[in-house]
Amino acid sequence: MLEKGRISPRQTGQLLFITTIATVIFFAPSLIASLAGHDAWLAALLGPMFTLITLLLITWLGRKHPGQTIFQYSETILGKWLGKAVALLYVWGFLHIGAMAVREFGDFMTTSFMSHTPISVFNFSMLLLCAWSVLVGLEVIARMNEFIIILIVSFLLLILFFSLPNWELDYLLPFFARGPLPVLQAALIPAAWHGNIIVLAVILPFMTRPTRAFLAGTAAIFASTTLLTIGVVGMTAIFGPELSSSFLFPLHLFAQTINIGQIITRFESVVMTTWMAGIFIKTSVFYYCAALGLAQVLNLKEVRPVVLPLGIILGTLSISLFQDVTMLGNFLKETRPYYTISLYFLGLPLLLFAVTLIREKIFGVCFGEQTNEA
């Protein structure tokens, strides 16, 4: 076994919550607003519902193959080589998403806070922390997360609360003016982030009670959807949809508007702290999944040997993936939702699901169902 630690359903839920909310609330609101306008909040509310399908698929697959990660059961289902290919595709997916998260953070730091510091400093130091936490294992990441989640949630609520005087809810109207199409299109953007619960397919076998996986995932999705929706409502109410769609880091500007009697003001650094903590956990989880996946594909005894190479790949990716911020923004808005959802969040799980069904129903192969019930 590559991972000895076990995490509780609650910790799983918290991990999933942070992996989704950590980036979505910092980046997505303006992207959503640019597509859905006044109905951005509706898109934010609807988007994650797509992810429930992903969640259903991976918990179903997880129940079919108890004790196995997606890297392992893809081999069981599709056969050795095809399965390994799928697993490697997932490893790449986790690396890609992780690298994007790091890049987003690095860009934020260099644009908003420390414009003279090269981005590589932030990316590599962040990855160093993540590498260490990957080495100490999933259980420790989950435990740290229980701490960090308090920090992140309370800071986010604090920012939202203090911005309340600036809200003008009139700006949320008119409701549903442009019809359903832009809303659905915009809903893909938060869905692309919420699809991050695909990591459940990797950490599910390490839960103390894997039967609770669906519950944990649903709770995480609902919690982060709620928070995201409040954030989007707040942003629309403060800036109006037209203005907010032009922002790169909406939450940062959001915090800038807070000014209660000249005393409760200057919350930007709180945003930075929150985001850094969130990105740390998120990247650690993705890094961990990638490392575990690679180790399982290569049949290694432990994760250790692949951590450093993967870290270097992550670091290089995080710097070379995008030329500049504009490219990052366009990618996040136009390419990422379709790419991640069609491939990782829905496509491959559906494939695995379909092949399992076909093999079971038509060829009568049994996949570990009995052991699960026994």
């Binding site: 090269p118 800036f239 203005l243 500007l253 800038q256």
Partner: protein, 416 residues
């Protein structure tokens, strides 16, 4: 193996940390803390932007007790083809790093406001150091001159402006607008932006007749240390600048500004005068404590119209006659007089807005919220439509309290 890895990782971390760092580090005493920035436009020049930075000298604060601290605020100016270039030019004279994060006043000269505010707004939003909660003020004349006005009560001119803004939040006529709100208004269809006008005007004392003037001037002149040879000027908020898109359309005076706020439902506090119902030549002063405005658009057979209902509450705060105004009948009369006065203000404001072709109240935005389909049809022509769209104004006023006395004291001589 394990230990070696650890050592290597530690070394890597150390080198990462020690070789990096310090790029953005700056000691607090090496900052030029900008407290206000004035941006002017010099038409016809190749480098039209004139930026004046008001920089606070911390040393002056620290030595207040010792005396001789020197000026609290120092000004630097630069010109350039863009705001950033102008600041860059000013920076060549500043021995410290320009620090804009604590700047919460952006003062724009009238010329630039007429030319268009987009460069200013773009600079503010794009620059992470500039804050969206900073206030946007339009200077009558140039911003630079305004900043160079001598401070009176406060330690420096920037604090003086801050004080005025803080006070203005309580007054009805002029409300300071943070930049993010301004931005939101100019980006929202069917709505135009507005902000406060600030002006350096002569002190009211020279309006007194010459006969009494000397005594008054001597009294005040002593406080100023001057003989009154030079005319003293002081800053005041002088109405509301209204915009068409990002360009200054015109300036509403105090009562028009209040009329606009009535229309937008934003009046907070203030006082107004109406004629005494018993002795029409006397004045009754009423305060405004609370008001509510409701704007309902209606579309009938393709014709757009608006209905504005205002409900205003207030107290009676003074009267110049000795009539007993505390009866129900009198209060009723006062109420209708007040409602009439408010309606006049609102109509004046509306008229001015139509004259300037700018919908600062946001009738268009309201229409958009209620009737999005109809607004979409007229969105492009909204400014023209706004000028002609009928607006029905209904005002209901209530006088709730009469201060600490119900009816005025009756001196014996007049009571006879």
């Amino acid at each position: 193996m394990k230990r070696r890895n650890c050592i290597l990782a530690a070394l890597l971390a150390c080198s990462l940390i020690f070789t990096s760092g310090c790029w953005d580090q700056v000691e607090i005493e090496d900052l030029a803390i900008v407290r206000a920035i004035a941006i002017d436009y010099l038409p016809g020049r190749r480098a039209p932007y004139l930026v004046t930075l008001a920089i606070k000298r911390p040393a002056a604060m620290g030595q207040q007790e010792g005396g001789g601290g020197g000026e609290q605020v120092v000004f630097y100016a630069g010109v350039g083809a863009s705001i950033a270039l102008a600041i860059e030019q000013a920076a060549t004279h500043i021995p410290r790093r320009i620090f804009l994060t604590h700047n919460d006043l952006v003062i724009v000269g009238e010329q630039l406001a007429k030319h268009g505010l987009l460069p200013v707004l773009d600079f503010v939003v794009r620059n992470p150091d500039m804050r969206l909660s900073a206030f946007l003020l339009i200077a009558k004349g140039t911003g630079q001159e305004l900043l160079h006005t001598a401070e009176r009560l406060e330690g420096s001119i920037t604090e003086e402006i801050h004080g005025l803004i803080d006070q203005a939040e309580d007054a009805a006529e002029t409300q300071p607008v943070p930049i993010f709100r301004f931005l939101r208004k100019i980006t929202t269809p069917g709505e135009e932006a507005y902000t406060v006008v600030i002006q350096a005007s002569p002190l009211p004392k020279d309006k007194l007749p010459a006969a009494n003037g000397e005594g008054a001037q001597a009294g005040e002149g002593g406080g100023n240390g001057g003989g009154g040879a030079k005319q003293e000027k002081s800053l005041a908020l002088a109405g509301m600048a209204v915009f068409r898109s990002d360009r200054l359309a015109g300036i509403l005076n105090h009562s028009e500004a209040r009329g606009k706020l009535w229309l937008a439902g934003m009046t907070t506090r203030g006082i107004m005068a109406v004629d005494d119902p018993v002795h029409p030549e006397e004045t009754v002063t009423l305060s405004l404590t609370r008001s509510q405005t409701k704007i309902t658009p209606s579309v009938q057979a393709g014709r757009i119209s608006f209905r504005v209902e205002v409900e205003a509450e207030g107290d009676l705060i003074s009267q110049s006659s000795q009539a007993d105004l505390s009866t129900a009948e009198m209060i009723e009369k006062l109420n209708s007089a007040k409602a009439g006065a408010i309606k006049v203000e609102m109509e004046k404001a509306l008229q001015k807005m139509r004259q300037l072709e700018t919908d600062v109240v946001g009738f268009g935005a309201i229409l958009k919220r209620r009737e999005p389909k109809i607004f979409r049809e007229v969105a492009d022509r909204w400014p023209e439509i706004f000028v002609e769209v009928p607006v029905e104004i209904l005002v209901k006023a209530n006088i709730r309290r009469t201060g600490l006395q119900a009816k005025p004291a009756q001196p014996l001589s007049t009571a006879k």
